[in-house]
Symmetry: C2
Subunit: 441 residues, 2 copies
Amino acid sequence: MTDETKNPSTRDVLKVALLGCGTVGAQVAHTLLTQHEDLAAKSGCALELVGIAVRDASLPRPGIPDELLTEDPVTLVADSGADIVIELIGGIEPARRLILSAIEHGASVVTANKALLAKHGEEIYTAAEREGVDIYYEAAVAGAIPIVRPLRESLVGDQILAVMGIVNGTTNYILDKMTTEHQDFATALATAQKLGFAEADPTADIEGFDAASKAAILASLAYHSTVRIDDVYREGITGVTSEDITAAELADCVIKLLAVARLDDEGRIEVRVHPVMVPHAHPLAMVSGANNAIFIEAANAGRLMFMGPGAGGSPTASAVTGDLVTVARNRLRGVENPAHSVYQGLQIAPMRQTRTRYHLRFQVADQPGVLAAVAGLLAQHRVSIHSVHQHAERLEDRPDLAVLSMVTHTAREADVMACITELEKTSYVHGQVRFMRVEGV
Amino acid sequence: MTDETKNPSTRDVLKVALLGCGTVGAQVAHTLLTQHEDLAAKSGCALELVGIAVRDASLPRPGIPDELLTEDPVTLVADSGADIVIELIGGIEPARRLILSAIEHGASVVTANKALLAKHGEEIYTAAEREGVDIYYEAAVAGAIPIVRPLRESLVGDQILAVMGIVNGTTNYILDKMTTEHQDFATALATAQKLGFAEADPTADIEGFDAASKAAILASLAYHSTVRIDDVYREGITGVTSEDITAAELADCVIKLLAVARLDDEGRIEVRVHPVMVPHAHPLAMVSGANNAIFIEAANAGRLMFMGPGAGGSPTASAVTGDLVTVARNRLRGVENPAHSVYQGLQIAPMRQTRTRYHLRFQVADQPGVLAAVAGLLAQHRVSIHSVHQHAERLEDRPDLAVLSMVTHTAREADVMACITELEKTSYVHGQVRFMRVEGV
């Protein structure tokens, strides 16, 4: 970094380079081009947009001068003298190389790229720390809901016991439709696609990959440790059936896809993404539609929840612009934010050793002694039952069977899985045992 | 400020002085005394507690060494060489003089003192900026719910359209009891006092003074302008009756004491605290018990809400400790946070010119033409009716009267007050017109 960069008194303008000009990028560009005075008042100096890297510079882009556009992001980052590079192209490469190049050239970086941070965060944070530049990424998790600063700063003096987030709007929308309008998964997905809440290829959302990236970032922030997407246990919502939705309602719960990061009894990090039954009384249960929410339980602060729109051009642009102003302020003062800290270096708990509650549902022979047998089998595996419900309705074609559903007390994943395997082998359990984890009790 | 203070390389310890050792102070002291390593890892250097100013140093304080206690806060601030002063004594004086003295001696300040900031914030922020030290006050609004940083940093690139907060746990608890358990105000207050949710002298809470302080701080942060408690229109909840609660339920609303800060059409700040009817569907409606919540509507970020416990020793201590770590980090790097910015310098809108919806309720002669007369009278004052409800139940002693309730479209306060005065003078309106403002529609 040059002396000029470090010396606040010599700067009256900071140069900003933008990589990507999709929905969010175009809005950020528009803000930079039209709200000069407001941004200058907030940042402390003028912010000059020096270039926008796009895939096809010949496309019409209303309100954006042609001379700002380039199809060569590598040169823009290396030669424009940018103080701040905003990366909004997404994906792993070339985003990773461009961000690392920006850092090497002494630029601070603002990004919304959760996939990249969840995979190569450590490399990027380390490079930023080495070069003494900022890396800000509020938009990477839960859109414009401020969550990175609260975890990194406001709650830094507290101990985070658990973070649970609805961090994917698409899956929340689908589950909401399945619950409130009794649509099946395929219909709800088709509705979401039609209304633009799900992409043509919805895999990243419905299989939980997007949520897993965010879970890695949240866990890493909450526990000051390196957590990568590969550390995150992941299940999507494609297996959630209308029967599961009904079973959740009977248990006074709703089904949500949650990203969970929790400190276990041995000081390791549980980090997982999967469908969860959440009691109606829990704040996360009322987060509807494509909204996101982050629920935090801290030793002193207690139970906090932040909610809002989790995606969309405007909210994401708001988060990016907030980061831009913060980074600009830091740059003017010649400092960077405390690096992304991993001083705790906690281990990740294997999924089989995580502990939570479980909702089990299965058909049993309707005869005396069956419930005792089930309870006995569970007890052998140190799984105790919190509540049992025997469904009044009979199965039409099998009047000799009854449907049992039960919620366990907190138990170890491996023990519950062993119970399920054994239950399915008994003579009195008919067919599969459906299970779903329960959180927020 | 000495060169030593400004030079990060020469510091391996920062000195902390604590003013006040009540519930929150004792917990902060305990954290400083027992969590050395964790605080050092988070801050970047050791934090040494050099003294605690208390009213009576002879009282037993378990876990706190006697030699740290002093009854002379003035000398502690002036002579201890403290880098950071934490003010938790509350009230205006001597807190104001001590904070100003700390700033003059080059110390950064962490405080939870909303009353002081709402009254003398400008003087304190100006002094801090002049001396190049930090002033942090996350605990002053909504306990441990991070709201100061989100407004000051995360959303700084956005335009805040409105902030609405449940910022007083005592009144939320009382209104919740009145709603869910049909207690009258006096009974609910007595319950709150018995359970420690209200103080023996509850005036500051139930008359809205505490909420008004927080409204001033929130408005000031959201609109980068100086807003003092005297600028805040204030009504408490002592006038809320069981009949109001029932009327709210009929309108599918709940009554909350809200702190509202909003940008009006002329670019002025509306800032007010009063009971409000909030529709059940609004996120603020579900904030129960003594919880707090801040709802923010921003041009780009959309509708965000933060909720959690608004008071109590542990949450407040969490917020204070988070501020302490941030201030310590800044000090080590030789910088201070961007000063509390008032660059927008917006005007405050007079209460009579604020605009919102109104719920009106009154008895009328049950005869043809009365509704037309009411609507005509309102229309003359540019107040239009959104919905009307004529209550089916008759008044036992006056079978000739009916009860009308109605919700207006957005109207000007002065116009609605004029309508009420005129309605009460007509021959067909019997007795008083009850009104309550409606928000969140």
